[in-house]
């Protein structure tokens, strides 16, 4: 075992540097400039994670005629009455302040109308055009400005540091710190902290096709589960209908082709060139994400596929020049990969995009364990069964900021550093050391089997039989991962070791998703059970809570507290524009 562990101490330790992590750093410093803040991140600061990848934009009820109530109703109805209402409400209220903060205090410049006011575009499932954006690369603008501010602060930056274990206090009084691997040297590092923020961005990268950035592998969720926290809504994995398909050997496969392509009138064609979406829904390609994803998946199951096993998106009938002008980013991206989006056909597949589920925490982002806070995609409950496009980055920036303030307040009340439970540190290291000393074997093959199982059996269409067989397949695969060895030589920047660690987290959370999917016997939002195709009674809506150890997961149906609005009611009087009860 690696004897030398480097130990440091800080006031606030933030894991992750997406919208949640960086906003937390900013707000913690603003609340108390004397705090010593450390940001530890698996990639480069501000350059990893998905906040940067946001294309569509940021939902905020800021325009005349729109209201927080309306944004809230859209969120609740879109989330199929499953969202935690107090959290959804806070999201809608605070996003107004946050977008102004982004514009005024951080220096973002979002697209304008001709009169100079913010331009807000339509996004599926919303009763008002409220998505603020910067072209179709909104995330770059947001995260660049955020990292600029954070870089200018006095904070400790631990880049390419991977958190592997949350370490509790010896006396059980809360969190004491986090065990990390310094990826650049391959050594272990323990950071003691008074408060810790988990903002590692979840990320459903256990599916054959997925959109998130490569550094996201559900590490935070897996650590939280081991630490004893409960997760909710984990069956809710959002699929984006049009991921680029370039074959299994290219990392560009699975990356998102913008929703606007379908909105603008793009066709989806199956292997025979038939426009199949008309067979599934009156709105054809313009139906919502979940419906189109299911349509495509159905064609794939029937074998009506392209050479690489997907379907085509075709834009040429809109005029190649026109397409190039309207979607320059997408056309260029496809061209860089060798595809002609403007004039030809590009192969696409649905692709796992976002996890609505996550760790249960309070509206102040505090988890059940004192000193440990959760924000961003790691946290569960805000979106319920479906996330509206544009509510994701809102969630991470709103709650990231709140977390910063909450942590500063927590430290003011709890200024002491806690003694760590050495035993858990040792366990964490033992877990990471497991593959060394065993015979090296083929990791990619095992990853492929996990991908395939999740895709086929815990994916877009689910049923009890498949889910049950997925449980045993995943368990067996996980066992093989434990038996796989790694060549032990160069530990510095050893990506294969980190692949192995990624897969550990992915296996853990795949089990959770599968268990939660088995526990939900109805279909709503992102979760579709072929054996229970209908949405149950809304008034008795429950969410699924998962806890326990990965080998002995406990699921529990917990009634949703309709603290603000009940099914059938609306906060909006004006009937004509009430969001549809079922979207």
């Amino acid at each position: 075992m690696n004897a030398s562990i480097d130990t440091h101490q800080t006031d606030v330790l933030i894991l992750g540097s997406g919208g949640a992590g960086l906003f937390a750093a900013l707000h913690a410093k603003q609340t108390n400039p004397d705090l010593d803040i450390t940001i530890a991140v698996k990639g480069l600061l501000g350059k990893s994670g998905c906040t940067r990848m946001v294309q569509g934009g940021y939902n905020v009820a800021i325009a005349d005629g729109d209201s927080v109530e309306r944004h809230f109703m859209d969120t609740i109805v879109g989330g199929k009455w499953l969202p935690r209402q107090d959290m959804a409400w806070e999201l809608c209220v605070k996003s107004v302040e946050r977008i102004q903060e982004l514009e005024n205090e951080l220096g973002c410049f979002f697209d304008r109308n001709s009169d100079g006011t913010l331009h807000q575009k339509a996004f599926a499932g919303q009763s008002f055009d409220r998505t603020v954006h910067k072209g179709d690369l909104t995330g770059i603008e947001i995260i660049n400005r955020l990292m600029e501010q954070v870089n200018a602060l006095e904070v400790n930056r631990l880049e390419e540091h991977r958190a592997i274990e949350l370490i509790p206090a010896r006396d059980g009084s809360g969190i004491a710190g986090v065990l990390l691997i310094d990826m650049r040297t391959g050594t272990y590092r323990f950071i003691k902290a008074k408060a810790v923020l988990l903002a590692t961005g979840a990320g459903p990268t256990m599916y054959l096709y997925h959109t998130p950035s490569g550094d996201k592998s559900c590490d935070g969720l897996a650590m939280a589960l081991r630490y004893g926290l409960s997760l909710r809504d984990m069956e809710m994995v959002q699929f984006h209908p049009t991921g680029l398909l370039g074959g299994r050997d290219t990392r560009m496969t699975g990356t998102v082709l913008e929703e606007g392509l379908r909105g603008a009138g793009g066709y989806l064609l199956n292997g025979d060139g038939h426009r199949f979406m008309k067979d599934y829904h009156d709105n054809a390609e313009r139906a919502t994400r979940d419906i189109v994803s299911r349509g495509i998946y159905e064609e794939m199951r029937r074998g009506n596929v392209t050479s690489m096993g997907g379907v085509y998106i075709e834009m040429a009938h809109l005029g190649p020049d026109n397409v190039s002008k309207r979607f320059p980013g997408m056309v260029k991206r496809c061209a860089d990969c060798g595809f002609d989006l403007a004039g030809g056909r590009v192969e696409v597949v649905p692709t796992a995009h976002y996890m609505m589920g996550g760790i249960e925490c309070g509206i102040d982002t505090a988890s059940a364990s004192p000193g440990l806070f959760i924000a961003g995609e790691d946290c569960g409950g805000v979106h319920g069964a479906n996330r509206l496009g544009g509510n994701g980055v809102g969630n991470s920036t709103v709650y990231g900021g709140i977390a910063g303030e909450s942590m500063a307040a927590f430290i003011a009340a709890n200024p002491n550093i806690k003694d760590e439970d050495q035993h858990v540190i040792e366990q964490g290291i033992a877990r990471a050391e497991k593959p060394f000393g065993k015979t090296p074997e083929n990791l990619p093959a095992l990853r492929d089997s996990l991908y395939q199982t999740m895709w086929d059996k815990v994916g877009i269409l689910r049923n009890k039989k498949d889910l049950s067989s997925a449980v045993s397949e995943i368990t067996a695969q996980h066992q093989s991962l434990d038996d796989i060895g790694l060549q032990d030589g160069q530990r510095a920047f050893n990506l294969t070791w980190h692949d192995w660690l990624n897969m550990q987290s992915l296996f853990d959370i795949s089990k959770v998703i599968t268990a939660a999917s088995l526990a939900r016997n109805d279909s709503r939002g992102a979760h579709f059970r072929e054996d229970f195709p209908h949405t149950g009674d809304l008034n008795s809506t429950c969410y699924i809570r998962t806890s326990g150890s990965v080998d002995q997961l406990v699921t529990e149906a917990v009634p949703v507290d309709f603290s603000i609005v009940k099914p059938g009611e609306s906060l909006i009087d004006d009937e004509a524009s009430v969001p549809p009860a079922t979207a």
Binding site: L44, G107, T117, R184, T250, C337
Partner: protein, 236 residues
Amino acid sequence: MLKVSIWRGVDEGEFIDYEVPMRANQTVLDIVTEVQRNQEPDLAYRFACRVGVCGSCAMTVNGRPRWTCRSHVNDVIDGDRLVLEPLRSHPRIRDLVVDLAPFFETWKGSGAVFKPSATRDDKPVKITADDPARKNADAGIECINCAVCYSACDVVSWDKNYLGPAALNRAWTLVNDAKHGERKETLNKALGDGGCGSCHSMGNCTRNCPVGLSPSAGIAGLKKFALRGLPKVEKP
């Protein structure tokens, strides 16, 4: 088969040759991934988004700095050869990975940090997108901080004081930003030590910027302000 020579080591090291199957859809990032997954488990390289927005994956490909996740092999290959090295002008970490921290330090040096002139309680100011200063800023704003331009610029490699194209490009966008509270200070820093006076308009930054920005034009704009003074930017 494709012949790939990859730099292994830190400052001391050597090129090692690998053979990788040729495929129809293959980026340079896919090539290094293939090598790492199937031939050389401890090959070090960096990527994150894989779609050209995070700027983590840049390296030197056949002599030129590039983002690799969006560089199709067919577009960059020389015969059947690919030579991959870390980005130049950065401290090396291992194999194809460099330390970008000094690169980000240059941001501060060039005064490229937004200072607010309003608060979160104020409505966003009304500035139209066709405001001339705003247009200047917009033209330079979508930088992914990939450090390709920095690595491409010879002056950066010659003069360790030079802040380089990316940081100066950001300073240029700020000087044109009516919302920025310290336009003058930013201009002063950008014209100071290691600032835009060191740029000799070589243009390698612009020619290599993967997202099509033109730091050359931005730096020339800063020089114009140096000579003519900072123009007023209307703030309604």
